[in-house]
């Protein structure tokens, strides 16, 4: 058995830290900070929100939109930023540029700049991610498919979401693994490609993956 036929299940944990920038009380301050913040900071506020502990399942996936909607009451800007999918951009600098364009446009429309209350200002964060090997190895595509619904949320995040940043083809680890085998798995890869993963929370992602597998194998798969 060659090495490429083994799928090593990894997992990850994350801890957030302050990005070292002043907080923003309004969108003008947000724009100034977005222009200079470390790229990891944008990554955190757009991509790592799904893996952070929360008491809420907000209507927008990125923190900027949630803040504009909740604390500034600027629903228009929230929606315009909320539709941005960071994985649609070639890199996060392009995302930064697009964000600034949207904010500039919004600033040009406003007669006054709404401000958040003290204590509700936008805090710029980043994260440290630790990736570790679970010690579990999969030796065949069918085993992988059976195993996916039982992976931890953070493992699904690592292999399906975070992988889009890490893999050469900007895709998920399951696809990278399965496409090395014969055409038998193409229908499943097509199903995986259809998942609009960025806009899902991890519970929804697990269900979407399970549904994709069920659509292809034509049978219900057990739930974790």
């Amino acid at each position: 058995m060659n090495e490429s036929s083994v799928f090593s299940i990894k997992d990850c944990t994350l801890i957030t830290r302050m990005a070292g920038l002043d907080s923003a009380l309004n969108i003008r301050e947000m724009r100034e900070r977005v222009a200079v913040c470390p790229i990891e900071c944008l990554y955190h506020h757009f991509c790592e929100t799904v893996i952070r502990p929360t008491f809420d399942d907000p209507e927008f996936r990125n923190d900027f939109s949630v803040w504009c909607s909740t604390y500034l009451g600027d629903k228009k800007l929230a929606e315009q930023l909320g539709i941005l999918n960071p994985y649609d951009f070639n890199n996060l600098e392009e995302l930064r540029a697009k964000m600034m364009e949207i904010i500039d446009e919004r600033l040009s429309e406003l007669y006054y700049i709404p401000s958040a209350q003290i204590g509700e200002d936008f805090q710029f964060m980043r994260a440290v991610t630790v990736v570790f090997d679970t010690g579990k190895h999969i030796y065949s595509p069918d085993d992988l498919i059976r195993h996916i619904p039982f992976m931890s949320d953070s493992s699904l995040y690592y292999h399906f979401v975070e992988a889009h940043r890490r893999t050469l083809q900007s895709t998920d680890d399951f696809t990278v693994y399965l496409q090395d085998f014969d055409h038998e798995y193409e229908p499943l890869l097509e199903e995986f490609a259809k998942i609009d993963f960025y806009f899902l929370n991890l519970h929804e992602l697990r269900l979407a993956l399970k549904k994709s597998i069920e659509n292809v194998i034509g049978a219900e798969v057990p739930h974790a």
Binding site: T13, M18, P53, F55, Q123, R126, V128, V130
Partner: protein, 412 residues
Amino acid sequence: MPRSLLEYEEIVGKINISILRQLADNLKGARVVHVNSTRVGGGVAEILDWLVSLMNDLGLEASWEVISGPPEFYYTTKTFHNALQGKASSLTKTMIEAYEDTNQQTADKLRGTLEDADFVIIHDPQPAALLEHFPNRKGKWIWRCHIDASRPYRKVWKYLEEKVVNYDASIFSMPSFAKRLPHPQFIIAPSIDPLSDKNRELEDSEIKAAMETYGIENSKPVLTQISRFDRFKDPIGVIQAFNMLRETIDADLILAGGGASDDPEGQMVLEEVLEEADGDRQIHILNLPGDAHRMINALQRASTIVLQKSLQEGFGLTVTEALWKEKPVIGGNVGGIKLQVHNHHTGFLVNTPEGAALRMRYLLRHPEELEYMGKTGRRFVQENFLLTRHLREYLTLMLGLRRGLANYLITE
């Protein structure tokens, strides 16, 4: 009571326990010392109770030390606590001496333990000055601030800042609580222990007996605030809200406070609360001992709605506890309560006694919403705010500090 991770498997799932063990494999044998100012009472002591046990269960060598001093020391540190939350306070020479002498004496007592530790985690301001007594420290020192320090009283903060700037890292409970410091500042939200006496499942008979102990009828709605007697918890505002509610709905109010040995103001506030209640037989003011965890658990479970009408709050673990017990929370629009309470989903945020009265009335008139909010709150706590997530973040932080804090670390 020492705990093992195995006991939590049924609640959090095998996979979450397995993640902890895999992470901890990279920290086996690391000596971790926690230092705070009390073993009993208050959220910090409750966290350390399980955190130390579980770190040991994972193969780390964790221990817990307590700084203790004369009454002037506690008076000073209570002043620090209030000042960090923004209350104007003055520091006298005598207060500073009491604080620094106690830290010096504790440093002498713990020299061997702290100097050789791989990680020293100093909780809150009370033992924060220990660091300066350890110029030959070998490990990483972390200041864990459980208080909302976002807008401290500046004169007192200037003094405290000097004590904490040289730590290797600090931890705050929420981003908005953090102070800008010249070292990495991490965010770890607190959590609850689902198997502790305060949170474990109880038999109905025990809950009923708890209510009978205090002569509280279970035929009427019960509104409860569990908090130490502290002005920032606004117990007077709760009584005012309750009196407004009773103009239309008959109910009982429980104000139960657990004593913490490092809070000298508690008795004074308790007397003010008793005066406000004015002997009303439907207002039950219970001054519970610091270890009355099962009683608190029973009172929360017997409640229809839990209140936490704070004017200033740290994370607000009593809110998390109530949500775990499927109780909607009416909470003050401050601190960590804002993180936990979402209007119409897990409870209501309020700003005044009038707001609290209005929301109590609304919930008592809409039992279906009350039930939905209870279930929603429980789900969020289950997924994110149990101790296993908290422990995982500590392990992640320690691994990160050991490896130089790259954004992305791959362990062997």
